[in-house]
């Protein structure tokens, strides 16, 4: 394993190209449900940074010899052990007012899929330094998205920013709801993907141009226009479409497997063996 990877490379890849929220689509639940305000997003981001970085470093330092079936529950226990005292301290010893929703979703940060994925697939297979770099890069990427989403949702959904009323003439309550966040994340993901393709994409790769809408052809409708010379006809059963040369991933397991292969290729490209020998089935 190579330790000569700079933090800048890890930051670009972990926070941008493989952004956990926008590209890998992991850990969406707290983002969608709880990042309705800037303050809430900041609390979620801080919790994620602390929990993910500490868990990945501990996993890299201590869990390499532990069997896999034991490791995964340990990640969750460590995450909760880190988060719950902080939450208790904020509740009882400070004057910070946390809403009921935040109280629910901050512990969920400890057991979200970002932690399990990055601990199991990277931290336990690499050095502590690389594990720290990876966790920090992923935390920064996820936190940036959370803060941006929280800012936009608070401005348009509540008409305020960080609790300060902006006196906007129109407020879109839908932006405070989960569907508003999902639509916003979709646009952000599309924008990030376009930026990645523009900045880091393969120049030989040409985008397939979508058909022009006005030239769109819709089949099987013309026969319905004239009604006077028609009669009912039993149509033959539809033939099953021929399988494509390369099947697209359909199930969640296949999609996850495909995503893992992408991550593996990325880390190999920067000189890191993604799996240890004999680890990959």
């Amino acid at each position: 394993m190579s330790n000569n990877v700079s933090f800048k490379d890890m930051l670009v890849k972990g926070a941008l190209i493989f952004n956990p929220v926008l590209i890998q689509l992991v850990g969406l639940c707290p983002v969608v449900a709880a990042s309705t305000t800037l303050a809430g997003s900041a609390a979620l981001s801080a919790a994620l940074c602390i929990e993910l970085t500490a868990t990945c470093v501990i996993a890299s330092a201590l869990f390499k010899k532990i069997p896999r079936w034991v490791r995964v529950p340990l990640y969750l226990i460590i995450g909760l052990a880190l988060i719950c005292p902080v939450l208790w301290y904020i509740e009882t010893k400070t004057l910070i007012n946390m809403s009921l929703g935040m109280k629910i979703y901050i512990p969920l940060i400890a057991i979200n899929s970002v932690t399990a994925v990055h601990c199991e697939q990277f931290a336990v297979k690499n050095s502590v330094k690389l594990a720290f770099f990876d966790a920090a890069a992923v935390s920064i990427g996820a936190s940036a998205v959370m803060l941006l989403v929280g800012t936009v949702r608070e401005i348009f959904g509540s008409g305020s920013l960080a609790g300060v009323n902006l006196d906007l003439p129109v407020i879109f309550k839908g932006m405070s709801l989960p569907f508003g966040c999902l639509i916003l994340l979709g646009f952000m993901a599309a924008g990030l993907k376009a930026f990645i393709n523009y900045r880091y994409g393969d120049e030989e790769e040409t985008e397939e141009e979508a058909p022009v809408e006005d030239e769109e052809i819709i089949e099987d409708e013309i026969a319905e226009v004239e009604i006077f010379d028609e009669f009912w006809v039993e149509q033959p059963a539809e033939e099953e479409p021929a399988p494509a040369e390369k099947a697209q991933p359909q199930t969640a397991q296949e999609i996850q497997s495909s995503a893992n292969e992408d991550i593996e290729d990325f880390f190999r490209s920067i000189g890191i063996d993604y799996y240890e020998k004999g680890d990959k089935q």
Binding site: F172, V212, E216, D220, V233
Partner: protein, 318 residues
Amino acid sequence: MANNPAKQNTIKGSRIFGDYLIMLAAPCFVAAWYHGSRFLSVAAVSVITALFCDFAAKAILGKTFHLRDFSNIFIGIAIALMLPAGIPLYVPVTAAAFAVLAVKIPFGGALHAPFVPAAAGFAFISICFKDLIFDYSVNSETRLLGAESLGSMLSKGKSVYISTANVFDIIAGNVAGPMGTGCGILMLACCVYLFVRRRKALLATIGFVAACAVYAAVSPRINASALTSIVLELSAGSLMFAGVFLLTDHATLPHNGINRVIYGALCGVLCMAMRGAGVFEETVCFAILLANGMRPVLDAAFRALPSVSFKRKEAAEK
């Protein structure tokens, strides 16, 4: 293209939306008759917003903007018809912009969108501006029930004794409600036109209306006869309009004819269930969006069922 035999049995997408625009002429006339310049201004703002958003988005994406793409005009007019007369102009602007930018453009156009853009736009503003969307107090002084709409009345459990004196007002849309969707007679006329032009699409409308009628008869919200419940439920809000214009959207209809009936019935049950249990007076757009999401499941689940479709004689002989 004309020499390609595979594409001779086809029509362009603009023809479908052209048919919709022809069908929309009558509801627009009625809305302009009842509400005058108020409807015209709302419709104009909505259509211009849809056209501008489509133009801007295609300019950003580097695609060609076609004015013949009638889907923008259809989206704008359909949204305007479902709104009350006293609506502020920023509401149709929001709805049209959402329909085009968040539903139509990201999926490659109105013929590819998995959700009906106009329904999505109306659902969005229903959530964002609930108090404005269901305020029918403007231009309602001379209506049958004053400023109270049928949907509001049904949600409160209040009924109307239907007689020959008032039944025509109800089915002609002379009650408080959306500007251009309350006239059931016109909706039936539009169904006839749709039957001539795209009869397979009408299967979804049939399933939808039948399911709504059965649900209203079996589980009425008011203490009245089943027939009264059916008439009032079908006449309330934009139910019939959505069943004719939005539910028959080509991109979201199932392939199989039987699936279309099931799809419409599912949408009707969802709509009536949400009317009874939900917080919104008008739920048909939410029901359509939910049914849109279930359409691939329907296509997959009922793929094995036999299909019967209309074909011209010579096409069948070939």
